[in-house]
Symmetry: D2
Subunit: 427 residues, 4 copies
């Protein structure tokens, strides 16, 4: 069972959602929580630039954005010493427990929120219970508030455990939603010596009481940003003098979604953010598409990326515009190792509150945990991505997403138990 104080941590994080690389309040709050709960049991706590390989950060927002959120965190009264270390968007933390001989086991949780407005409908629990987002336009709509809480809970549990021998590292990873943080954590020194890595996600259409021991089917993903540049003109007086960037963009959007499906497996494309133009009476000279493509394999992702470039370029030419295409964050696919999957499945089957255990399931989305999983596997270790069911009223990434807080306890129980079992088998 989750102690009430963990629920209050989750709700506090929920109330202060921070998008990628702006997890200033979140990181500071996690640091504070770990220090107060674990005290001397915490052997090391790497924060910000010490937790990640800063050069490998992807999709970092503009300085103005960073400053805005930094000041907001400062105004919320977090520890200024911690905050200062995060300046410039170096967020995240790695907590280390050293418990003698034994394997080095990692647990990775992600901590960022989404740039979307949260529902204020009274049937939406966070709204009704008073922990709806304070940050209008940002929301924990994918459960990372619960993930961070599970990370803290597992650290606390293992710190107090008699059944663990070895080293535990809990990775509180920033910027998962923009596929921006996984690589910088995978490239940090903390990952190199891991014998095993567990990662966790809540929900994913599995109800409370259900555990998926090993998730596969991560789609490889790539972000692209296209800037169309044309020429403005007076829309009434001389439409023929314009080179219409919005027409180019609209042509591109129509044809992006029309890229042929591929027989080798899943492909995806989304023009997730678009904008263009300045005034009703001016032929638009600028437009922008922030898009992502995915594939069941890296090859399929590359197929989508190649076709996307071709569509963007041809749409620009069609309307006599230029287009500048920048490739953003990317993540590979990965698979869960059977050795860990069977451990998690066993533990889950004997965990209170867990009513059903699935050996395997497909994610059908992307995750930059794959960077860490691949890094561990390439070093000869094992990795496993665990699903913790939770009743969620709205879908992931929608305004009414919420978690059943009971599932936080399930997550802590299954993960801590699995970590103990790994230690037992490897020691």
């Amino acid at each position: 069972m989750t102690a009430d104080d963990l629920v209050s941590l989750r709700r506090d994080l929920h109330r202060k959602p921070e998008p990628a690389w702006r997890e200033f309040y979140t990181t500071a709050r996690i640091v504070d929580e770990l220090e107060s709960r674990l005290g001397d049991n915490l052997d090391a706590l790497h924060v910000g630039p010490e937790a990640i390989a800063g050069d490998h950060r992807m999709a970092v927002p503009e300085d103005a954005q960073l400053t805005h959120w930094y000041e907001r965190a400062r105004d919320a009264g977090v520890d200024p010493d911690v905050l200062e270390r995060l300046e410039g968007g170096y967020t995240g933390a790695v907590a280390v427990l050293e418990r003698g001989e034994g394997p080095t086991v990692g647990l990775r949780v992600d901590i960022d929120a989404l740039p979307r407005r949260e529902s204020d409908d009274p049937t939406h629990t966070p709204a009704a219970a008073g922990f709806r987002s304070d940050h209008e336009g940002a929301m924990h709509a994918c459960g990372h508030d619960a993930h961070a809480t599970i990370g803290v809970g597992v650290a606390e549990r293992i710190a107090a455990s008699d059944d663990f021998s070895g080293t535990l590292k809990v990775f509180f990873q920033p910027a998962e939603e923009v596929v921006g943080g996984g690589k910088s954590m995978a490239e940090s020194e903390h990952v190199r010596d891991l014998d095993a890595l567990l990662a966790v996600h809540i929900g994913l259409d599995h109800p409370t009481g259900e555990i998926v021991a090993g998730i596969d089917g991560f789609l490889a993903v790539s972000h692209l940003e296209a800037e169309f540049t044309g020429e403005s003109a007076h829309a009434g007086g001389h439409p023929e003098q314009g080179r219409n960037a919005v027409q180019a963009m609209a042509t591109a959007v129509q044809n992006l979604y029309g890229i042929p499906r591929h027989n080798d497996g899943k492909t995806r494309v989304n023009a997730g953010v678009v904008e263009g133009g300045s005034a009703a009476n001016v032929i638009p000279d600028e437009a922008r598409i922030v898009a992502e493509v995915r594939g069941e394999t890296t090859d399929l992702m590359e197929y989508m990326k190649g076709r996307t470039r071709q569509v963007l370029r041809s749409a620009a030419r069609m309307h006599d515009c230029e287009v500048d295409i920048e490739t953003g964050a990317e993540a590979p696919s990965a698979t869960s190792d059977e050795a860990l999957v069977s451990i998690v499945a066993d533990i889950a089957s004997n965990t209170g509150g867990v009513e059903r255990v699935l050996e395997r399931d497909e994610l059908g989305g992307s995750e930059d945990a794959t960077f860490l999983m691949r890094a561990v596997q390439e070093n000869g270790g094992h990795a496993c991505y665990v699903g913790v069911g939770t009743d969620h009223p709205g879908g992931h990434h929608t305004a009414t997403f919420d978690v059943d807080e009971d599932s936080i306890g399930h997550g802590i129980d299954v993960l801590a138990g699995s970590i103990e079992e790994i230690s037992r088998q490897r020691s």
Copy 2:
């Protein structure tokens, strides 16, 4: 010749461009200039809510916008008494000179800027000469800074004239670019007793030294704003659960520009501002188009409006979205009266620096001066829209638009001369 001090007024206004209904600095600056130049010669000066019929304002921006620009004007140090009267976006002014028996003549100039970035290229005179926009993202790209200066200059000239008998009213109109201010000025009490109205525009592809005595061919115009609402979903996990508002928007844009041309005359459509979506990995549930349609006649504008609605609604249905369409500002067409056109042509032919006079030309754009012109004509008065040529390096509404300041003097000379001649013929 334009006195240097008028050039410095124009440059000051150029440096502080303010978009529609946010002309706080601009109005206060004009008031200050009129008071210091005309002093007791100014019989009345109606400011803000006293200058316009506030209920008839169209396309007023959100409060946050108004506040932002209001504070900016305050910080720039304008007269707080004047500023206070403009609060809430009641901008503009009407200056009145009473000079005994004779006709009541109006001169209408517009004063607002455009929401676009000004060029910082060293070949762009305002950049080179140090009066480029201080307000990044806003720009006097249509010469309204010169118009306001001409208004002040004409008032000053007539105040000092021995050849004018009657009443002169100079209308400093806000919000022309969004077709938002003309109606509120036309509905004010100040327009009712006008016997003649002159309006003026600089440039319009006519070079310095050229005057167009009477401009016609105003396109009727209507603004529309469409909000598409769909349903978000995880773009990797469940694209089929989304109802994609950006796909609907792109389909609409493609088909808006494809509305059939009409044999009865000019038609226009422009999707001037578009935006949609929240994140690369979320199927967009919201998108927006700010569009305008125009027609050589009101019927043609209505044809375009009807087809536009049909396109917007069908595009929404196609992608299972809803669309909310709001009609914004509108302006009718109008024509210049021959009686005034011939006066202006005569005066222009005898004005120093004027090398060529065109009796008539077509605007090919829209203008909400048509509201004032029609109001005067319906009361039995005459109206005329005068073009003052100026060499402009970039086209209207583009980042490198600028005026040849010599033409400000031409405008003052021709307009003041014409006002005197009207007085002479009618007295």
Copy 3:
């Protein structure tokens, strides 16, 4: 008044509509009619290759088409000697009357039909009165049956006239609808010595009893044909292996209609015929667009042509296809000379049955009579395009188009009278 026998000629031509370069029956019928009506009064009758400059024919259909219609004409029992001379699609005729000293005057009428199905609704007069098209899928939907009849009628009238001195040439021009025949007639030797040329069109939204003395506003026109080539693939098994020519074509169509309107005047674009693909389960590897563009001036037509090419090429690239673009027939714009316009207006005003005479009107369409008009004007002669009103229930080019046969008489009266007056003024 039109003799009944001319009505029966018109109805016979209506019943046997023949599209461009396939006017085998039509030409033979006209030849027969001229010979039987004029007999020895006919000084020369140039047929087929002697009437036109064969090398300058444009938009000639495939041999199979020519053969099909040739055989159909043969089966209808036309004079085999005449028919033989038309073989290979050399249709049309020029009738010459030499009446002593005086100007050489030309009258040009066109004779081809459209490839569209005629209405069989009982309210459609040709259907009710039994002279609906025998050639299913072809129709005289633009009144060229009446034009040919007027040509015969004027020749007969002038042959019998005491008021004409000089030479009359009546040009029965093929292939107007595809803008294919005008140039070949303009390049023939028969046009070189013309002092004056009249051309005629019936209808054009003018009612019976109305004459337009001089029509202007011919849009310059150009035909284009685009062949997209991609690669086929099994639509279920390997959609990704296809390069979809139909997607390219659809993208092109959407963007062709979206080419910006031009402030300098009328522009037009139409994707009049499209086709592509072979079977539901095959990714289409071929698609085709037959398009036309027009402009109020040749420059505007060239603007549209340039943008059209850009759209077609970019659409092909977008879907990894090739596109082959062929420019087809073209025609320039032209204007009617005032000298002839005033003659026609005078005569028309004194013609029985004519209730209203318009000096000038705009066509708003295209016409390859402009080739002949320009050729005459470049040689120092005058040209004039005359409109003869007729009540037409359906619009031009629609399935229910028909003419009021009274207007055939008006056309003959006004044109023959004008030709006599030209002779009178020039002799």
Copy 4:
């Protein structure tokens, strides 16, 4: 080994490809071949209306088409008695061998060709070796000529076999390519008593020497035909009076390919044939799309069908057109039964020339053999769809598709061997 005479049968069928429901020559040729090879060993031969349930035919072409191909077969000199029985498009045959006690086993082969032109490149074997299609515009581009040949070969082999006891029925099915014949054969009386059914397809990207014992992954498929109706107008004179069916069609095509991918499995859409309009200068009043949608399950196919209807209807509304949507042929998905798969795999492993046996593979396309498979399975029998590898230079449905004739022998050996083994196990 394939006897040379079977190769000559295959080549003769290849030379006379006949599309769906027009397999007049093909059926008569098969009948002739069976009778001459099997003679008295043939216990029954059901032809045309006796072989299929005529009411359940789908996608039958127009009478003119049927007549054209019927006459072509007659001119080719086939047996007039057989031909007469096929009149009206009742093609196909069922051959029956009764060999005493034992199971009733079916073998289904399809016999129709595709409406596409065959390559005449000298590197294309049928062109080089003189058996390229005589029917310009039709082609055996999917190997059904080999399938028919295999059907004849298996019948001949079993007729001479000592290892088969029971009943064999060979189904020569028409109209597979249009998903039109499977249902009519499944609904015939001949299918009801089958204990086992084998179906076969050659190629499918497997090389010569490879056998796939059991193919699954049939996509459910549905054909749709949309007719858009607008209103024509003169494209130069009055574009605004048209209601453009080609614009509606192009909008539909663009959005059909943009229907969101579905996370539950494969989906497909193809606008395989499109056409519209009548002439370059007429706004098109008619346009047509022949489309198909597919899904990995029937639910996914229904999802695509629902979205397709919505796109078609909205595209029509957008351009003020009507659209008439007709659903054509459909086929469900199906799976191969393990009991038969293992028999085929065993036999194949011991067949000369077979170098590799795959237990299972996915088709990734559709097949109306699924109607027969499901009918047998619903009656308690088993079904299995067997793949016979063949080196094919061009992909299925492309102009250079061809089979390696050695694989015809492999197919006969594996299928006849499997039929004998089924008899052995069930007797």
